[in-house]
Amino acid sequence: MRSEAAIIPLRDPAALPRLGLTLLIVVLLWPGFTLAEFDLGVLFDPRNREIMGKFLGTFFPLELSADFLRLLLKSTLETLAIATAGMTIAMAVALPLSFMVTRSLSISRIGPGPGRWSGRAARVPPRFTLMFFRSIPEILWALLFVRAVGLGPAAGVLAIGITYGGMLGKVYSEIFESGDTRPAVALLETGSGRLAAFGYGMWPVALPEIVSYTVYRWECAVRASVIMGFVGAGGLGQQMELSMRMLSGGEVSTILLVFLLLVVLADTVSALLRKVTA
């Protein structure tokens, strides 16, 4: 044992490469610190500290006056309504589009014949629409809709409807494809129409997964609709933005608490719904 211990170097043999790698990363990231205006001193700047200190100081006690709670209940319901209405629109967008882009439902794919290429070309525009809808984040859609249709929940509903429509459409078509497509294809091959093949061959197979994914997305939509309020799209977020602007910390902390409760609630409801429908 003793002789072996003498052979093992006392220093860490990997120290040098590790040091080199660390240095390399630091050098690469160094301009980032300047670009991000990284300056911890700002946090201790007396003026900033005074504002923040005052603001944080007002976080407690919570604002629990009846008037404010009534206002909060209204915006909470508004947030839930925005998420739900937005999801309804999203499904209305996603179902027809996903029906259009699902390859297994293509009649022209079945056999040799005309229309194979035109059928494939026809699937491109809806696929592109779905991609366009979901590649712009919902809060950016909300910002644009606030400018187009004015402040308020309508912008939030439209933003969720479009972004989530794009996401749902893509996932729906993936669910249709990944499930057992043989019933639908068999129906098509024996001469049934596209819609009938979808309704009797594909929809029943895919339904549980569709429901569970949609419910999960609804949960995300609740969170998103709070966030979107920050750009003026109604609901709890807009209220939080207002309270922050007025530096009333008690209101902010109450709203944060309600937000956390809402997220937990949406989580529970969504888990429950998925269990019931699974």
Partner: protein
């Protein structure tokens, strides 16, 4: 089971109807010819995007700023996350574990955008507020992932070092860390990818980067400039997607 399904469908329809009723959305007015024409006019005003050299240079700077915010925010989060993950993985007993988990849960449950709005008060308008906001939220996410990694790491190497007389800190550094570092790096890179997307948006509340530029140009009704920034955002996200897909394919296997 069939009846439960019918009940759920009825409830969902009712919820959807109630939502539209509660919001009192006037879709007739929203989709009227007049509103439609106005909407089309607004959309058309975004084209063509402003591609003058001067503005492109500004957008480039904004893009770099966005990347810097996400990178530094993620780096800070990785360091803080590891520091919190040590107690959260139960290394120092049950009480620090519960406290650290509570802190991580708190950091994580407040969304980035809310953190950003708060940090604008603490650090002023600009990219630093965005960096801090990302750092707080990401610490919560990453800390929990790190803690789980540490908990799942095999204890034998560190134990062997301890039994042969090494100090606890060194046993951790040489017994546990080498095994978990790849996983920690993978988690950090994965969060960085998400944070680049987030950093582009955080600016809406004044936290720097492309988002702040976009918010300002939209407020000043400079739609062509806004279009340039939207295109830059889409390009950035597409690039990150492609890069991460490529890296995953070539590095992971």
């Amino acid at each position: 089971m069939r009846r439960a399904h019918a009940l759920v469908v009825m409830l969902l329809l009712l919820a959807a109807w109630a939502s539209f009723a509660y919001l009192a959305l006037d879709f007739g007015q929203l989709f009227s010819a007049e509103a439609g024409a106005q909407m089309v006019k607004y959309v058309v005003s975004f084209f063509p995007p402003d591609l003058s050299a001067d503005y492109l240079a500004q957008t480039w700077r904004g893009t770099l700023e966005t990347i810097a915010i996400s990178a530094i925010g993620t780096l800070l989060a990785a360091v803080l996350g590891l520091l919190l993950a040590l107690p959260a993985s139960g290394r120092f007993g049950i009480v620090p574990r519960v406290i650290a988990r509570l802190v991580l849960n708190f950091l994580r449950s407040i969304p980035e955008l809310v953190w950003a709005a708060l940090m604008v008060f603490a650090a002023g308008l600009g990219p630093f507020a965005g960096t801090l906001a990302l750092a707080w939220h990401t610490t919560g996410v990453i800390g929990r992932l790190f803690a789980e990694t540490l908990e799942n790491a095999p204890p034998e190497p560190a134990r062997a070092l301890r039994f042969s007389g090494s100090r606890p800190a060194l046993a951790f550094l040489y017994g546990t860390m080498p095994g978990v570092v790849p996983q920690l790096v993978a988690y950090s890179l994965y969060r960085w990818e998400i944070n680049i997307r987030m950093a582009a948006i955080l600016g809406f509340v004044g936290a720097g980067g492309l988002g702040q530029m976009l918010y300002m140009s939209l407020s000043l009704f400079q739609q062509p400039q806004a279009m340039t920034i939207i295109l830059a955002m889409l390009a950035l996200v597409a690039l990150v997607d492609a890069a991460s897909a490529w890296l995953r394919q070539h590095l992971v296997d």
